[in-house]
């Protein structure tokens, strides 16, 4: 058998005459396993993919048409959710993460993602708009109800969707965290992840050979297109993203669902799928990548910094098993994306292609492969505790008063941290505590020390540490790691010295 080489035109011809062979990404894995990539590439023409997850980078352009007298809306609200207007008179952009007004009776669980779901579900939307009057747009206020049918255009337009990779999230701290990765219980109580693993579009054509500007896709139940690379597209690090658009009037609320993540905010669950043409063996091989071969990393969201520490590398097979092992402990892990919906999307797209209702496209241009994802440029860097930490004067719980009194004088300090043999924090002593100890006739550190100690960690901002000191009325904070080991100390004097005023 010679090397397989097909073109999009040949595949479309097969779609036209009904001889096309389309399989889902999950089916392709089995075919390649049984028959090998060469035969699979020969037999299979298209592999369909699917994903259904919360995609905050979603939104929609809407055109309302003109009222009489006309208005150029300066501010407008759709079901009490502020939409953006900064373009032509009656166009607006509703973003998925925008929350409804605080005073709205829709409550805090409602936002832009829900407006988009309500629109495609053909529900009635309330519009309120205000404006400054001009000679051409004299109206200053408008209030009305409409459905998607009343709009001229409703275009889903998502600047950043379909991440190639997602990190898995967990939480090392002692409190529950509420994040865009869901609810994370304290002390590695659980982990979450996103993406559809072996069904994910960008995992099946990881270098975007066949996905580019103009690629026709399944989007929200209707047809959509890739407009280009998404924001933060970072091919060097395998963090590609896509900029998608599609006609919302053809879409279904089955595949666009508003979401609210407690104490984080709103988003939109978006279902989309990309057909991958099997032009040669290489694409057959990449389309057969399994959950075992698709890797990601578990990172600690307990560190609220731009770069969060990696805990371990895992495969999607590990994640789908429902349990991963972190520091010798079994941690339950669950998905934020729906595999069931992803599978449904891959199946629907397969049906549409087989029935000749969906043709494949050659990209007009490929996506750039040299963009990078840079951090924000900021004028003044935020200072963290680790930048002002200094060595702490410490003593042991078993030491006596004479020793610590001498220590105070010798080290010329007011703060002594009490530790055990393993350098773990046990208590705190100030000169006041020692004076009080003398007055009461106490002899041992463990009887004089304060046992309730307010602490900080190297990754806390200096502003936050300053807030704790002011709030708890203390002059210094021991800096500890997550195992309660003492790393050093920060004092109010250091903070004063730091501030310019």
């Amino acid at each position: 058998m010679s090397d397989v080489s097909k073109t999009i035109e040949e595949i479309n011809q097969k779609i036209n005459d009904g001889s096309v062979c389309v399989v889902t990404a999950e089916e392709m894995i089995k075919i390649v396993k049984e028959k090998g990539k060469k035969i699979a590439a020969n037999e299979v023409d298209v592999v369909t993919t699917g994903t259904f997850g919360a995609m905050c980078g979603s939104g929609a352009f809407l055109n309302f048409g003109h009222a009489d007298p006309p208005i150029k809306m300066e501010h407008l609200w759709l079901n009490d959710v502020h939409a953006y207007h900064g373009n032509a008179a009656v166009d607006a952009y509703i973003g998925a993460t925008r929350l409804s007004n605080r005073e709205s009776d829709r409550g805090e669980f409602y936002g832009g993602g829900h407006v988009i779901e309500d629109l495609v579900a053909r529900r009635i939307i309330h519009l309120k708009g205000t404006a400054y009057a001009t000679d051409c747009y004299p109206r200053t206020y408008i209030e009305t109800d409409f459905t998607i049918e009343d709009l001229n255009q409703a275009i889903l337009c998502n600047p950043r969707n379909g991440y190639q990779r997602y990190n898995s999230a967990t939480n090392s701290t002692k409190r529950t965290l509420y994040t865009y990765m869901g609810k994370l219980l304290p002390e590695f109580g659980n982990a979450t992840f996103s993406g559809a693993g072996e069904l994910s579009p960008l995992q099946k054509d990881p270098t975007c050979r066949t996905i580019g500007i103009g690629t026709r896709i399944f989007l929200g139940g209707g047809t959509g297109y890739v407009m280009g690379e998404g924001t933060q597209h970072n091919p060097n690090n395998d963090f590609r993203t896509l900029f998608l658009k599609g006609n919302m009037k053809e879409m279904s609320s089955e595949f666009l669902k508003g979401a609210y993540f407690t104490k984080y905010g709103c988003s939109l669950y978006v279902g989309f799928g990309i057909p991958i043409p099997i032009l040669d063996e290489h694409l057959a091989e990449s389309c057969a990548r399994t959950n075992e071969q698709i890797m990601t990393q578990v990172v600690d969201y307990g560190v609220p910094r731009r770069t969060r520490p990696k805990i371990l590398d895992v495969s999607y097979a590990d994640l789908y098993s429902g349990e991963i092992r972190i520091n010798g402990k079994d941690v339950k892990v669950s998905s934020l994306s729906s595999v069931r919906k992803a599978r449904q999307i891959a199946g629907l797209l397969k049906d549409r292609i087989k029935k000749g209702k969906f043709y494949l496209t050659n990209p007009v241009a490929t996506l750039p492969d040299d963009t990078e994802f840079k951090p924000m440029k900021v004028r003044s860097e935020v200072k963290f505790v680790d930048s002002i930490i200094k060595t702490a004067v410490t003593c042991n719980v078993k030491d006596d008063i004479k020793y610590v009194a001498n220590l105070l004088l010798k080290k010329n300090t007011n703060h002594i941290i009490v530790i055990d043999e393993k350098n773990k924090l046990k208590g705190f002593l100030t000169s006041f505590d020692i004076a009080r100890g003398v007055a009461k006739g106490l002899n041992l550190v463990k009887d004089m020390m304060m046992k309730k100690v307010f602490t900080t960690s190297p990754n806390m901002t200096v502003a936050e540490a300053r807030r704790i000191m002011a709030h708890k009325d203390v002059n210094s904070l021991p800096v500890i790691d997550k195992n309660n080991r003492v790393l050093g100390i920060i004092t109010a004097e250091d903070l004063l010295r730091m501030s310019k005023h």
Binding site: G182, P186, A259, S335
Partner: protein, 129 residues
């Protein structure tokens, strides 16, 4: 917080001292708790406790072994709203929430202890009680 509605059945206890048994069972677990309500009625000693949400299943299991009846405030899944993402599954300590073979969310009511840890984790607000 997790609210536990406990009853120590009338036929099981001999005197008011048995009330201490409930408390002692929990004290052994080293879990902070608040007694919200305590009364004596025809069914027995009724106690309402507030324990940390993540400890509810541990406390429930211990007390049930000691013969204490627990009125569970089990959750309900609104299937219209649920999108089968499964975020709730890892928050469930008792296996009451899981996927069936089609990756559809399955809720086993008899396993639910009513800890409500999953409730505010649902991005669709589909979990109610």
């Amino acid at each position: 917080m997790g609210i536990l509605d406990l009853t120590f059945p009338r036929n099981e206890f001999k005197g008011l001292d048995d009330y201490e048994k409930i408390i002692n069972h929990i004290l052994k677990l080293d879990v902070p708790f608040t007694i919200l309500k305590f009364n004596l009625n025809e069914s027995g000693i009724a106690v309402k406790l507030d324990v940390p949400t993540e400890k509810v299943s541990q406390v429930t299991q211990t007390l049930e072994k000691a013969g204490i009846k627990i009125k569970r405030q089990v959750i309900e899944i609104d299937e219209e709203l649920c999108i089968d993402c499964g975020q709730c599954i890892a928050l469930c300590n008792t296996g009451a929430l899981c996927f069936d073979e089609d990756s559809k969310l399955k809720f086993c009511e008899d396993k639910c202890v009513g800890c409500h840890l999953c409730v505010d984790a649902c991005p669709r607000q589909a979990i109610k009680y």
